[in-house]
Each structure stands twice: as structure tokens, then as C-alpha cells.
């Protein structure tokens, strides 16, 4: 099953797309509700050539990755420190536990109050939403590192910082990378959600303006683009993950 050729493997997707085109062509579904697939593709091409879609995608993705990048750096630092220091764990754990169950999209009105409607509100929302999965996975990963490795390194004269960077971090890496994958998914959800609610620019803004003006083929084209970007980001990331973890026996 695994070695199935790609065309055969993705044949169901093709069937679905053909069914879409057929349903609209034979009038089973009104094109007001579901535009022709070919029309959607044509308007996608127009948006690409016109430069509108790449420009807005760039704005969205740059915000998304800025927030995610900051969350990954700080999240790993907090998670590993929580595992390494009891005092810090006692300080940070209640905050993590209190924020963990909160649906992060509820912070949208709060970041609007704090940072207005510009870039900063969306970046900080993505940052806050992505940080907890990274903190929790880094903490769990760092706690799971074999203490003998840490003791050996310490007894061989490694400083606490050297142990954290050279022993704990590589040992915790598989879990950390999994947490970052969750955070990557969150960054896309929060990016689109915030751009739909605070519609100023970006892909979410394109979707909502096309929707409101009734240009449904363009709306569908942008939605499918967002879905494809989320899929590509996840696949690229998991290829990167496999590359980084190639030293592990699977």
C-alpha cells in the first residue's frame, strides 16, 4: 500500500474534483452555490497573474511565521527551563495550566484592544496561540531525557548551560518538533481567523471581501489556496522533521 504510485494514490481527490465539475455542469448544484471548478481555476490564475494573491499571501505568511518563530524560540526556552529548574517550574506551571484550556481565538478582541487593527495584533495572537503547545512539548521532552546522560555530562565538567544545549535539547528534540508541528497548524488557524475578524489585508481579508461582494469563484480560489498552503507547510515541515531526526532509529 505504501509504495502505491502517486497518481493512483491521489485518484480519489481527482474523482472528487470531477464530481464537483460534473455536478455544476449538469445543474445538480446551482453555480450560485458552487461555481464551476474551471471558473474557480480561471479566477485563481487571474489573481496569481494580477499579483493580488501572491502579495496578500506574503503578508499573511510573514505574519504567521513571525508569530510562530517567536513562539518556538521562547516556548522551547520556557519548556526546557521548566524541566530544569524546580523554582521556575512552580512559577510557570500554574500560568501554563490556566491558559492551556482557553480557546485562543477568544483573545482576538483582547489583542485588538492592546495593539489595534494592524500587524501587531495578529502577530501577537499567533504568538500567544502557538506558544503553549511548544512549551508543553519541550517540557515533556526535556523531562523525558535520561537523567544518566545529564549526570554523566555534569560529572565530566559540563556547565548547566552546556548540558541544556548539548544534552537536553537534542534528547528532547523529537517531542519538541512534534509540538512545533501542532503550533504550525495553530498558526494557520489563527492567521486566517484573525484576518477574517480584523479584515484589513491578507488572505482572510481577500476571502471575506470576495464573499461580501459575491465574487464566489474568486472566494473559492483563495480558500483553496489557503487550504493548499496549510497542507504544503505541514508536508514540508514533516519532511524537515524526518531529516533532522534521521539519526534516530525509527
Amino acid at each position: 500500500m505504501m509504495s502505491m504510485a502517486a497518481p493512483f494514490r491521489y485518484a480519489p481527490l481527482l474523482i472528487l474534483l470531477l464530481a464537483w465539475e460534473a455536478a455544476t455542469t449538469f445543474g445538480l448544484i446551482s453555480t450560485q452555490m458552487l461555481p464551476h471548478l474551471t471558473t474557480v481555476l480561471a479566477s485563481w490564475w487571474d489573481l496569481m497573474v494580477g499579483g493580488e494573491l501572491p502579495a496578500q499571501a506574503y503578508r499573511s505568511l510573514s505574519r504567521s511565521f513571525t508569530g510562530l518563530g517567536a513562539a518556538v524560540v521562547l516556548g522551547i526556552f520556557i519548556g526546557v527551563s521548566m524541566a530544569g529548574s524546580r523554582a521556575f517550574r512552580l512559577f510557570a506551571n500554574p500560568i501554563v495550566q490556566a491558559f492551556y484550556p482557553m480557546p485562543k481565538s477568544a483573545l482576538i478582541p483582547v489583542v485588538i484592544i492592546w495593539f489595534g487593527l494592524g500587524d501587531m495584533s495578529k502577530i501577537s495572537l499567533i504568538f500567544l496561540g502557538c506558544m503553549l503547545p511548544v512549551v508543553i512539548s519541550s517540557y515533556n521532552g526535556a523531562r523525558g531525557v535520561n537523567p544518566f546522560f545529564i549526570w554523566s555530562a555534569r560529572s565530566l565538567g559540563a556547565s548547566r548551560a552546556a548540558v541544556a544545549v548539548q544534552v537536553v535539547l537534542p534528547g528532547a528534540m523529537p517531542e519538541i518538533l512534534n509540538g512545533v508541528r501542532t503550533a504550525l497548524a495553530f498558526s494557520f488557524i489563527l492567521m486566517v481567523s484573525s484576518e477574517l475578524v480584523i479584515a484589513r489585508d491578507g488572505l482572510g481579508y481577500l476571502i471575506s471581501t470576495f464573499g461580501e461582494s459575491g465574487s464566489y469563484p474568486a472566494m473559492f480560489a483563495v480558500i483553496l489556496t489557503v487550504a493548499a498552503l496549510g497542507f504544503i507547510a505541514d508536508r514540508t515541515y514533516s519532511a524537515f522533521m524526518r531529516y533532522v531526526l534521521r539519526w534516530r532509529e525509527s
Binding site: M1, R9, Y10, P12, L13, I15, M33, L90, F91, N93, P94, I95, V96, Q97, A98, F99, Y100, P101, M102, P103, S105, A106, L107, I108, P109, V110, I112, I113, W114, P133, I136, S137, N140, E175, N178, R181, T182, A185, I189, V192, S193, L196, V197, L203, G204, I207, S208, G211, Y216, M219, F220, I223, V226, A227, G230, F231, A233, D234, R235, S238
Partner: protein, 284 residues
């Protein structure tokens, strides 16, 4: 596609290695009480710092209204009953979307693991659907189903769907073949194999899927309420934001945090109840 997509949850640390003898355990328990006291005091101090920062003018009260004012607003909304209407509607939408999704996704995931044609058709679709930001499809659901509860609940169900399918699929695939074969050789019918062997064995992973999907359902419900208006805690918060009523926004945040906490904890309790027989219950 055999990779399991288990997302990490905030699992309670199980520092089980130390629990050897009774005296140690007693010492550990007193240590846990101290830990709990310290952690509770951290949260209380944050509340106090919040209050002082806002009252003392260190932070503009519009950016961070005093905690006491937010709590007072929460209390008055609770007394007026509007708080429970909003929270109830949000919870109703999140849970019904989640339930509809689970009712379709669990059987589909199990069937994908059990039947090659079903797997052939759905495996690529699920692996594409899983990482997509589902919330982007919201305008399509608005176009098809208008802006009321049907569209909101459908959106929520769609957002949970792929997570639950993947968990049920992976959980069923991981069931030990030997146990299925032994049950068959003892004369169990296919139906019995399904209900007595496969479903119980796959249950821990299905429940993990639920534990990931339910927070997703809450996130999605709140975004749909913010975008489509109407009652519900998300709608109430975005209205408060539009009227620059920051006390309303912060009291909404506190209400949502409490609701999220109750929902997630309830699911953890249900998991422990259902999986009493499972090895994980003994180790925890």
C-alpha cells in the same frame, strides 16, 4: 500514511519513579501540597499585580481594566442570566458540532482501517484535510447555510472531523492482530470482534482524538460567533470590543477560560472513568 498524528496534550507529569515506599510517598504528598500552595499563590499574585497595575495607573485601564471590575461585570451578567445564555449557546454549538462529527468520523476511521476500498478512497482525502486550516471554509458554509446555528454547527463539525477520523483510523490499525485472530478462532462473530476487541482496544486513541478535537471545536465556535454575530460568548466579546468596552472583553475572556477549563477537565474525568480497565489508569 502510517504515521500516527498524536498531538501532545497537557498531560499531568507522572513522577512515578520515586514512589517506592510509604514514607517516601508521605513525604512526596506533603511536597505536593507545598507545590500546590506555591502554584496557587503564583496565580493569586498575578491577580493582585493585575489589580494594582490597573488601579495604580501603571497600565491604562482601557488596556487592562482592574480584575475586580471584570469580575463584578461577570457577576452582574451571571445575576442577569445573560452570562449563562451566552455560555450555554457556545457550549451547545461546540458540543453538537463535536458530537455530529464524532458520530460520522469514528465509524469512518474504523472502516478505513478494516476495509481496503474505504481506505483507498478516504486515506488521501483525510491526509489532505488534516493539516488544512478548516476555518478558511467558513464563508462557504455561510454561503450555503446562511449565518445561523446550522452554519456554525456544520463549521464546527467540519473542523473536528479530520482529527477524529485520523485518531480512530490509527487506533484501529494499531490493534493487535493476534487478539483478533484468537477471538475468531474461538468462534466470535465479526460483530463480536468489532465490539469486544477492536473498539475497546482502539478506545484510548479515539479518546485522545476527542481530547484534541474538543478544544478545536471551542476555538472554531468562538470564531464563528465573532464573525456571524448573534448571541454566544464570542459574539458578546466582539460586540464589547466594537463598543470599546474593555471590561466586557476581559470579563468574556475570564468566562471563556473557565468554560474551557471545565470542558477539558470533564473530558479527562470521563476518559479515566471509561478506561478504568486500561493499563494507563493504573500507571497514572
Amino acid at each position: 500514511m502510517s504515521e500516527t498524528r498524536e498531538l501532545p496534550l497537557a498531560a499531568a507529569p507522572s513522577e512515578a519513579a520515586v514512589r517506592q515506599d510509604a514514607s517516601r510517598r508521605a513525604r512526596l504528598r506533603s511536597g505536593q501540597v507545598t507545590d500546590f500552595a506555591i502554584q496557587a499563590s503564583v496565580l493569586i499574585s498575578i491577580g493582585i499585580i493585575w489589580e494594582i497595575a490597573s488601579r495604580g495607573g501603571f497600565v491604562h485601564p482601557f488596556l487592562l481594566p482592574p480584575l475586580s471590575e471584570a469580575l463584578m461585570r461577570l457577576a452582574s451578567n451571571a445575576a442577569a442570566g445573560t452570562l449563562f445564555v451566552d455560555l450555554g449557546l457556545t457550549l451547545y454549538r461546540a458540543l453538537s458540532g463535536f458530537a455530529i462529527s464524532a458520530a460520522i468520523a469514528v465509524p469512518l476511521g474504523v472502516m478505513m482501517a478494516r476495509s481496503a476500498p474505504v481506505r483507498w478512497f478516504f486515506d488521501p482525502l483525510v491526509s489532505i484535510g488534516f493539516p488544512m486550516p478548516k476555518i478558511a471554509f467558513l464563508p462557504i458554509f455561510i454561503l450555503w447555510l446562511d449565518i445561523y446555528d446550522t452554519a456554525k454547527i456544520t463549521m464546527v463539525a467540519f473542523s473536528c472531523f479530520f482529527v477524529i477520523v485520523s485518531a480512530s483510523y490509527a487506533g484501529t490499525l494499531a490493534v493487535d492482530r493476534w487478539q483478533i485472530w484468537s477471538a475468531r478462532s474461538f468462534g466470535a462473530s465479526e460483530r463480536q470482534v468489532l465490539t469486544e476487541i477492536i473498539l475497546p482496544m482502539a478506545l484510548p486513541q479515539i479518546l485522545t482524538g476527542f481530547q484534541i478535537a474538543l478544544p478545536v471545536a471551542m476555538i472554531t465556535t468562538i470564531v464563528t460567533e465573532m464573525l456571524m454575530g448573534g448571541r454566544g460568548i464570542g459574539g458578546a466579546m466582539i460586540m464589547a470590543g466594537r463598543f470599546a468596552d474593555s471590561v466586557g472583553v476581559f470579563s468574556g475572556i475570564i468566562a471563556i477560560a473557565l468554560l474551557g477549563f471545565v470542558v477539558i477537565r470533564t473530558l479527562e474525568v470521563i476518559r479515566r472513568r471509561i478506561l478504568v480497565w486500561h493499563a494507563e489508569a493504573r500507571s497514572a
